[in-house]
Subunit: 452 residues, 2 copies
Amino acid sequence: MHKHDLVIIGGGGAGLTAALAAKKTSYDASVTLITKDPLSYSPCALPFVISGEIDGFDSISKGIEDICRNSNINCLIDEAVSIDVKRRVVETRTGEFHYTSLIIATGGIPATPPIKGVDLEKVYTLYRMEDARRIMQAAEQAESAVVIGGGAIGLEAAAALIESGLKVALIEGLDYVLYRALDPDFSQAVENKFKENGVELIKGQNVEEITGEAKVESVKVAGREFPADLVIVVTGVRPNVKLAEKAGIGILNGGIKTDEYMETSVKGIYAAGDCAITKSLITGKPMPGLLGTIAIRQGTVAGMNAVGERETFENVLGSMILKVYDMEVGRTGLTEREAKAEGMEVVTGKVKSTTTAEYYPKGKGIEVKLIFNARDKRIVGAQAIGGGGVAGKINLLTFAISRKATVDDLIKLEYCYTPPLAPSHNPIVLAAENAYRKMKRLKERAKSGSGC
Amino acid sequence: MHKHDLVIIGGGGAGLTAALAAKKTSYDASVTLITKDPLSYSPCALPFVISGEIDGFDSISKGIEDICRNSNINCLIDEAVSIDVKRRVVETRTGEFHYTSLIIATGGIPATPPIKGVDLEKVYTLYRMEDARRIMQAAEQAESAVVIGGGAIGLEAAAALIESGLKVALIEGLDYVLYRALDPDFSQAVENKFKENGVELIKGQNVEEITGEAKVESVKVAGREFPADLVIVVTGVRPNVKLAEKAGIGILNGGIKTDEYMETSVKGIYAAGDCAITKSLITGKPMPGLLGTIAIRQGTVAGMNAVGERETFENVLGSMILKVYDMEVGRTGLTEREAKAEGMEVVTGKVKSTTTAEYYPKGKGIEVKLIFNARDKRIVGAQAIGGGGVAGKINLLTFAISRKATVDDLIKLEYCYTPPLAPSHNPIVLAAENAYRKMKRLKERAKSGSGC
């Protein structure tokens, strides 16, 4: 008999990574992966297949059965219908599977608002491959489209439909696009890029109605009516907790509650990916990850721990990058608005720089913003936008936040430089110096204010 | 009278940065900059002017007098000839200047070996703009060239001359190019790139003689004779300490000894840039910076402290990047060879990855190597090579080394991902996981070896 009989529910990023991590950790463990979808792919790739940047769905997907066979993982294309926590059994459509440890990686569900007409034909979400296939088919005969939701996927979907030759309106209910990711100064540049490329942008307005008989015809918002041969509703994702909830596993803020080992309220049962709730690394407040990168790390931790390790997950900063036309947009940690809402005394540092030495002919612009808590001088968030090198900067700043780096640490950053690849003055250092001087002035003002 | 009369000797990266930092710190300070060269430019840009990638010297240079005028800094185009430490006076060709604090930023001197024929016409170093001007003029009528020295500048110079249509041989006395920067596995890829582009590479051989009557004609090495209408000797730079030494200021390992405030052995006298010796951040051993980025940071620290701050310089890791053709090459910290020479038990983690999601059509290859000290699991060095994103990774890893990050910290790295800009599995995390598993195996082997 095996020391560990690990069953994993869900073959997405978290589930499959968990299976592979468990096998790498303990090759003798018996690992069974139950997945409805026989294909492994990154949902983040779907907008780029729609746009034609990536040629077809085959190139972004691999058969899960093949992956599992290569790693000696049992794979079941099946659907789990219940978990019996007492008997340690997962019931599926075809049978029962006993486990000694279990990982729930049931992913998310599109959080579609109850708009009138949202159930009409040719109204789509964009979370799974079949959504993208249907959107591509519909786009072939379409002339106009409306995208509801100005988050990353909404923006990428709008750009993809423009690329496909459609007239596109993008509707965001909040005050600006990427509202949870960016501050308005950085969102503005993104919005301008979309307007330049012909997207009609409606902000701060909720959709009144999606009209049509059987098939969608238009979207009504702010007293206007936008014709739409298809509509994509991408207003976020919420954790899929149906199985866990039914089994009596602890739920928190709508997701499966986990500790630092990704273990749920039930010993031996782990959760990972979009279905799980962990904490904000800065505020300690519960939050879902809802990012592929987080799913991979949580899956790794859950997979290792389910076969006997004690690896920890470090909680979430929400590092994100997207490409809008020729512009890279990245962010991590808290926005300025969020930091203020947490009661922090916020000081920001901002700089406009270039991706190369300023005189190098192929250089592009880049703008970096750092958000500090003035009380302990720690960095709590960052945003960057520009023609290149954004991912590397965001990853460095994410690491800096997780290591509790201060403005003093960042102005001391050693960095590399060569005219074709980087400016002689690193933009992060310049932005930190900007914040450093602001903090110094604040301190001097506070001193003189108190009469010293 | 001013509270501070700051005199700075040298208008290169360190000196000019020091002047500007002093003024930003204390606008009331009197700051006098003495510079022989009236132009400010980055020597790192010179190879790219020679290659024609950057159009002319004007675009890379600014007048130092203009910069100083804008910041209310006194600028003297003059040469300092001595420092009288007792009287606190700098003597120049034209007069005497009293200081309350002094910054020595006299830069470096090309460390040209005593090869026979090195004084012939058309044998050049490549450290100053006039060197680059002469090389460009000589290259116009030349058919062949030899570059002596396979460091970063030597490689860039060789590529620039190939670009100018010359037949080029590159001679490196050590076993491989970028010997102090990279391990042989990474140097190999650089060498291949140069061979592909037609550079003849001779390694592990010292030049016997540079031949010619008045003008250079050939370079003899390893029993062969390479015709050369011009020769560039770029075998490194050593600190220029003439003034400091004459004034009795402490010298260490051939450079001006400084403490963490960039202060020399004489109170009130600071040194910054290529002339100064600081310490390796990892080994604590004295070393010069000899990089533009280090000069800028040291200049900032010296400038601030010379007018009353107590800012510190964090010592040197030696982060470097260069572009060879379409390949980015970066490194930081110790090489594997250096780490072993320090007595460390070295474990490396290596990964081949891509700059985008692996299926994204425009992705390029990238390879990352991390070097760990197995005893405390800390990262001590890193190398990366590939088609993009190298600078960002090297900067992150430099920060990780300076923050004493371990392999466990790096496998927990949160990072951003989107198919057009980054793979779903971050290469740094993958390389760290590779090292993590090797360390685990080492530990298990050690346990079983001891009979436990």
